[in-house]
Amino acid sequence: MTEVHQYAIKRALSAIPVLLLVSFIIVALIRLVPGGPAVIMLGADADPQQIEHLRESMGLNQPLYVQYVEYMSGLLRGDLGESYMTGQAVSAAVAHRLPISLSVALGGFFVSLLIAIPAGTISALKQDSKSDYAALTFGLLGVSIPNFWLGIMLLLVFGVYIGWFPVAGYVSPLDDPLEGIRYLVLPSVTLGTAMAAIVTRMLRSEMLEEIRKEYSNAVRMKGVSDLRVLRHVMKNAFIPVITVIGMQAGYLLGGSVVIEVVFSIPGMGRLLIDSIHARDYIMLQGVVIIYTALFILVNMVVDITYFYLNPKLRE
């Protein structure tokens, strides 16, 4: 067993208490949401007796720990319960919606790297040039623009006025690759911009640091080509950048909630907002738990990758 394996196991084990604690926090928090789904389901015509009856049949009158234990044992069997509103299995709803949200998040991820890697590199190589300032400005603006506003503006310009991209909706790229990508362009750009800004800034400063170090080395060992220096610089600079990228996975997941509302994409985020409005606890809790578990999982993978890439940590 290598050190990396050992670290991976240790890291995975340490995620378990966090997951349990987090899931308990979620279940407890969501029970505190004022008002119940019973009222919304029955509407204004309901009488208090009916509401009480429905509450009982939903198991909402049991103590919290009973609800939690029941819920977690269901969770282990892959059963996240059924929506109060529609009777749909939460796991089925998530299975249907998650790929949609993931495709949006992945789109944002690609866009951000597509912008950040060239921008960060050029900016570092030509420090204090015009393109460096442009990248710095982008880095500042990108984190300051609210992504939903950017989305609305892109939608207005490219969707409504120019008409290059559809204004709303979703087509799976698996069903129809070309059309699917057309639908994903604006959401991905919107979602990817802030992350691109962050990664650009990070990459620039890390590369500057490495260049400083490598420059003195390169001077010592004459005869090494610039390109090879650059490759070395990039490799080292990327190690911390990967952590940042991992941290941003959470941002992408969270950000996709907003993006789905702006572009009317029927993903997990939309489901989350709808279930908040409908007080559909079981759905809400399932969605939040899945989101959070994903986030924890991504961070774990990032930590392990970071450990693998960074020889210093292994010593």
């Binding site: 009222v39 509407g43 529609t86 709803a93």
Partner: protein
């Protein structure tokens, strides 16, 4: 679709036009291609939902409409919300009822505002016993595929008396149902109940076959693949995604349905439903935002159908909470309120200001109300002065929610009107769930609210005004005793004209003492593709897909 420079002008024209058509009670289908000239498009000849909806001549209304309906095709429909189940006796949402309405049938139904037979051919009333004669030869859908009999009717009515069934009207009022012959069924009431027939016409009181219910589990709530006798057969329901109905070949009206298939997708976001019509993703979208109506109507491939008066908005008042327990406060507020502004903003000009529950043209609309509280700031001031300025050190709080634009606008505009009139007012904007909670527990002073169109005034007045009702109209309030008598009389009286008089007197008292302030009647905007014809309005805000046809 860039906004044009003349947008504002043309918008006004269109709005005036739409309003004119709406006021005439016409089921307006407007062809988008005919430009701004009202003369060209305004030949809507359908009747409003008041005195006769769904009477078959409200469809089309445009010069370029093909003459004869065409059979075939798939009608793609966009719904505003996921179904909350399909067991007809255990559902609680408009979308679910709408689906059931196209699959199953009721004993009686509404045509032209009247209660007429559907599964029942005829009926008679003897004291508390209704005897229905059942039409012969009505077939159930497969897999049941047999004739409907009186036993099925008795079974269905009795099933609704179950404690878990979401049909408390039947539970509270019906003593039992019994088949007295193959085609005759008797329903006995607990007590004399005037609105019984219209209640029976609501789409949750449908007749279903027992064996199909048993096949699916037998309990209330289990019957999720409904089998009925209606124009469409339930085919498939993928939760969160779509459901499909197919044409029933043995439907008793041979010409219906026109389309082979109805496929319904769920599009919760209102803007997206409008876009779905524009993108040709659906042919028929329910509940499109009012502000999109212009644009859909202007589009070359799209048009709009207005279902009139499907929503009634009001400011509800808790009459036992200070300072609202003072009738003069309520009267003054009603005179300050600019209802037209609500219609202009929240409804994009497509509704009408309201002073009573039912819109003009409806049987239950009262033409000669004496004391309507029109906007009149001087009168408001007078009332307050005479009452000794009860609002001097008060801040009125109006609860509302942004979940429904008309509720938000009612509250915001009322607040602005009050401030203008020198009365302190605040808005308490809640999420929809909290607001419903507060409404049901009467936890409000004033609340901007809206209810869907109901088939009988009893369904509006009784729950609001009964002792301990939502408006907490206590015994100390003026005419409380008379009001309480009237809501019971209205329920017990069997003669509809006599009931009309009862409710007119009641509404006069409401105008005087204002347990609530009526705000507006709103239409439902249906977005359509250009080639969709035959859309009809029904008495209740449910769509009948069997009259719709597609011109390919």
């Amino acid at each position: 679709m860039a906004p044009k420079t003349s947008e504002l002008e043309s918008r006004t024209d269109r709005r005036t036009f739409l309003q004119a058509v709406g006021a005439a009670g016409a089921a307006a289908t407007i062809a988008g291609c005919t430009g701004d000239d009202p003369e060209e498009t305004g030949n809507g000849n359908g009747n409003g939902n008041g005195n006769g909806n769904g009477n078959g001549n409200g469809n089309g209304d445009t010069d370029d409409e093909p003459d004869d309906p065409v059979h075939g095709g798939t009608l793609r429909v966009g719904y505003e919300a996921e179904l909350t189940g399909l067991d007809p006796h255990n559902i609680s949402s408009v979308v679910s009822w709408n689906a059931v309405y196209n699959v199953c049938e009721t004993l009686v139904t509404f045509e032209e505002g009247e209660t007429v037979g559907s599964i029942a051919e005829d009926w008679s009333v003897d004291g508390l016993v209704y005897t229905f004669q059942i039409r012969e030869g009505i077939q159930f859908h497969p897999p049941v595929s047999r004739e409907l009999t009186a036993e099925d009717v008795a079974y269905s009515i009795n099933r609704m008396r179950d404690e878990d069934a979401a049909t408390d009207d039947i539970r509270n009022n019906v003593a039992g149902a019994e088949a007295t012959g193959d085609y005759e069924v008797e329903i006995e009431l607990e007590d004399s109940f005037g609105p019984f027939l219209p209640f029976l016409a609501r789409p949750n009181f449908v007749v279903i076959p027992e064996e199909a219910v048993e096949d699916q589990g037998g309990e209330i709530g289990d019957f999720q693949e409904p089998v009925g006798t209606g124009p469409f057969v339930f085919d498939e329901h993928q939760q969160g995604d779509f459901f499909r109905l197919t044409a029933f070949d043995d439907y008793r009206h041979e010409e219906y349905p026109y389309v082979d298939e109805v496929e319904v997708t769920i599009i919760p976001d209102e803007d997206s439903r409008g876009l779905a019509v524009r993108n040709d993703d659906v042919d028929f979208a329910r509940d499109v935002p009012y502000r999109d109506a212009d644009q859909l109507q202007d589009g070359d491939d799209t048009k709009v159908f207005l279902e009139d008066g499907t929503g009634w908005a009001q400011i509800h008042i808790n009459c036992s909470r200070e300072p609202w327990d003072n009738p003069d406060v309520r009267r003054a507020v009603a005179h300050v309120f600019d209802r037209q502004a609500v219609v202009d903003t929240a409804l994009a000009g497509l509704g009408t200001p309201a002073w009573q529950p039912y819109p003009e043209g409806n049987f239950w609309h009262f033409d000669d109300l004496e004391n309507t509280r029109e906007r009149d700031l001087e009168r408001a001031q007078e009332i307050l002065d005479e009452a000794g300025n009860p609002l001097e050190d008060e801040t009125l709080v109006i609860k509302t929610t942004s979940a429904y634009p008309v509720m938000e606008a009612s509250a915001e505009i009322l607040q602005a009107n009050l401030t203008e009139a020198g009365i302190d007012a605040e808005i308490d904007n809640l999420d929809w769930g909290t607001m419903l909670d507060d409404f049901i527990s009467s936890n409000f002073g004033a609340m901007a609210f809206s209810v869907p169109f109901k088939e009988d005034p009893d369904r509006h007045y009784f729950g609001f005004l009964e002792e301990g009702g939502y408006n907490k109209y206590g015994d100390d309030q003026p005419d409380a005793e008379r009001i309480r008598e009237l809501i019971v009389e209205g329920r017990r009286e069997m003669d509809q004209d006599a009931r009309l008089e009862i409710y007119e007197e009641l509404e006069e008292l409401v105008q005087d003492h204002l347990p609530w302030i009526s705000v507006s009647h709103a239409p439902n905007v249906i977005g359509l593709r250009e080639n969709v014809y035959g859309v009809e309005e029904w008495f209740l805000p449910y769509n009948r897909y069997w009259t719709v046809w597609l011109d390919e």
